[in-house]
């Protein structure tokens, strides 16, 4: 269990984490989501007492992290896989961590086996791939067999095999009743891994709910159409109380010049077109993916947003 109340962190005039309150429950994988720069890593550093909060508190298993008697036995954390001395072997790295908490060397060999690094245990970590470094980091988190695990962007830079391995590992850790917090800026990844979501943007809490609720809470599903008479259709839709806009059509199902209609069902759109004698070349309902829901919710909280080039962001009613 991790509990934050009013957690705030300011760096000068920048607010990295803004009045965050949440509690992370055991037994499920909690995805910690937000665009780059949203404050995920800062929040994790606050949880681990690496940074002092400007306001608010965070407790781990009922205590401030710094007061845990044997932190590795209670919390395992992977913040930055590359954060180890390149001249040190994986085994020496893990051993020096284990020794701080009185964990025996035999456990070091055991976790090296769990993450599949026994063969390279004595190699200097300088030459490790990012995937191997992630495994060392995860081995470090598992050393104390803790009930709470935190992983910051654990699948970054991993190949599909590695991603699948981490996903399975996190799910099995949660299934054993542990608290698992995983941060990511990749929505598609969370869709496959997490049961619960905490979404932040610009340091503020945007959502704290189950994945299905998160998708449902996003804007209504849209009807996608393609027609040679877009201005006539959008006028008809407007008079029926719906809104039309140029479809983003990321999946490329409908093709160019598609229109996205909100506020009306697929059947209503069909009836409307029929009544106005408008020819439709495509009619479907788009499924809102977690990724789209995330983009909608965090749209105003993205720090660095690229301009959309060469494509109108709103349907303007003229012939395309």
């Amino acid at each position: 269990m991790i509990e934050a109340i009013g957690l705030t962190k300011r760096y000068g005039s920048t607010v990295a984490v803004d009045d965050l309150s949440f509690s992370i429950r055991p037994g499920v994988v909690t995805g910690f989501l937000g665009p780059n720069g949203a404050g995920k890593t800062t929040t994790m550093r606050l949880i681990l007492s690496l940074d002092k909060p400007s306001a608010g508190t965070v407790r781990v298993g009922g205590k401030p992290y710094a007061q845990l008697a044997s932190p590795m036995r209670e919390v395992g954390a992977l913040l930055d896989a590359k954060a180890m001395h390149g001249g040190r072997s994986a085994r020496s790295h893990l051993l020096c961590l284990a020794q701080t908490n009185g964990i025996p060397a035999s456990r070091v060999d055991e976790v090296l086996g769990i993450v599949g690094l026994t063969n390279v245990a004595h190699k200097r970590s300088k030459g490790f791939s990012l995937g191997m470094s992630q495994r060392v980091g995860i081995a470090g988190a598992l050393l104390g067999d803790p009930q709470i695990l935190m992983f910051d962007e654990p699948v970054n830079g991993l190949d599909p095999e590695g991603i699948r391995w981490i996903r399975t590992l996190m799910q099995s850790l949660a299934a054993e009743g542990r608290t698992v917090l995983v941060s990511s800026h990749l929505m598609s990844e969370m869709e496959n891994t997490a049961d619960h979501l905490i979404v932040i943007g610009r340091g503020r809490l945007i959502a704290d709910c189950g994945i299905s609720e998160f998708i449902a809470a996003s804007q209504h599903q849209a009807v996608l159409v393609r027609t040679p008479q877009p201005s006539a259709l959008s006028a008809a839709i407007a008079s029926a109380g719906g809104t039309a806009s140029a479809a983003t059509d990321a999946a490329g199902i409908v093709g160019e010049a598609a229109i996205e209609i909100r506020g009306l069902t697929q059947d209503q759109v069909a009836d409307l077109a029929f009544a106005h004698g408008i020819r439709l070349q495509h009619l479907s309902t788009s499924k809102v993916s977690l990724e789209q829901a995330f983009m909608e919710l965090t749209a105003d909280s993205v720090d660095y947003q690229a301009n959309h080039l060469g494509r109108p962001t709103a349907f303007n009613g003229t012939e395309a």
């Binding site: 690496l50 008697a69 036995r73 590359k82 399975t168 099995s172």
Partner: protein
Amino acid sequence: MAAVTTGGALRGVRPVPPRRAVLIGAIRSELTKIRSVRSTYASLGVMVLASIIWAAIFCAGTAAHWAHMSAQVRGGVDPTQNSVQGLALVGQLVMVVLGALTITAEYSTGMMRTSLTVLPRRGVVYGGKALVLAAVALAATFPASFLCFFVGQGFLASTHAGATLSQPGVLRAVTATALLVTLTGLFALGLGAVLRNTAGAIAAAYGTLFLIPELARALPTPWLNDAQRWLPGGYLVAQITTTNPGGFIPHMFFPWGELAVYAGYTAALLVAGAIVLRRRDA
């Protein structure tokens, strides 16, 4: 994934270590850290080797010129200083790097965050580092200092000008040289903890120990005397490696006194480092 659940090797291990065990754990961890990187062996190896070569060259040179020296010049030769001064200088150069790296390498690699996550009591982490660095430095500098002394005296044997440990001030000079080099490691550790940057800490240490004493020469005499007495580095080496009464710089404290001044600076820097480590975000 069954293996994850067991935590097998942890069974039967005491779950919560008593307070004293936390410091012992930190010391063992730091010992593993310092022993598991090549830079430790490389820098200490260079220190021992270079200082022995220095002792050999210096003492051999003195022996070669001995026949041509006047009685007065011979009286001014300090055979102990001839043999250990190299260690005092090379040792300081090397130990600044080793001492700074002990903590700044953790900042540059990001290891510090991991270290403070597994052991959030920062004072204990830092204390463990200082103790282990001091122990490793002592373990290297004491044998090195005696080796330098004996190698140097070996080269002087033909002139019968060599010193023995039982002569006045000799054991003190050999011991103080090892302590001076050890203190320099801790001095740099403190600077490293304050600055959190390898290049910055090394530059600051060299500047303080070698550059400022040279710049102080520009001061008017009474101020220069005060500066020499109270500044770390520089003249300190000459003062503590001397056994010859004529070699002492009269306005400076006697060797242990100068070493105590240096220890004071070192302690102040270590405390400053501890305060920064505890207060600032990691």
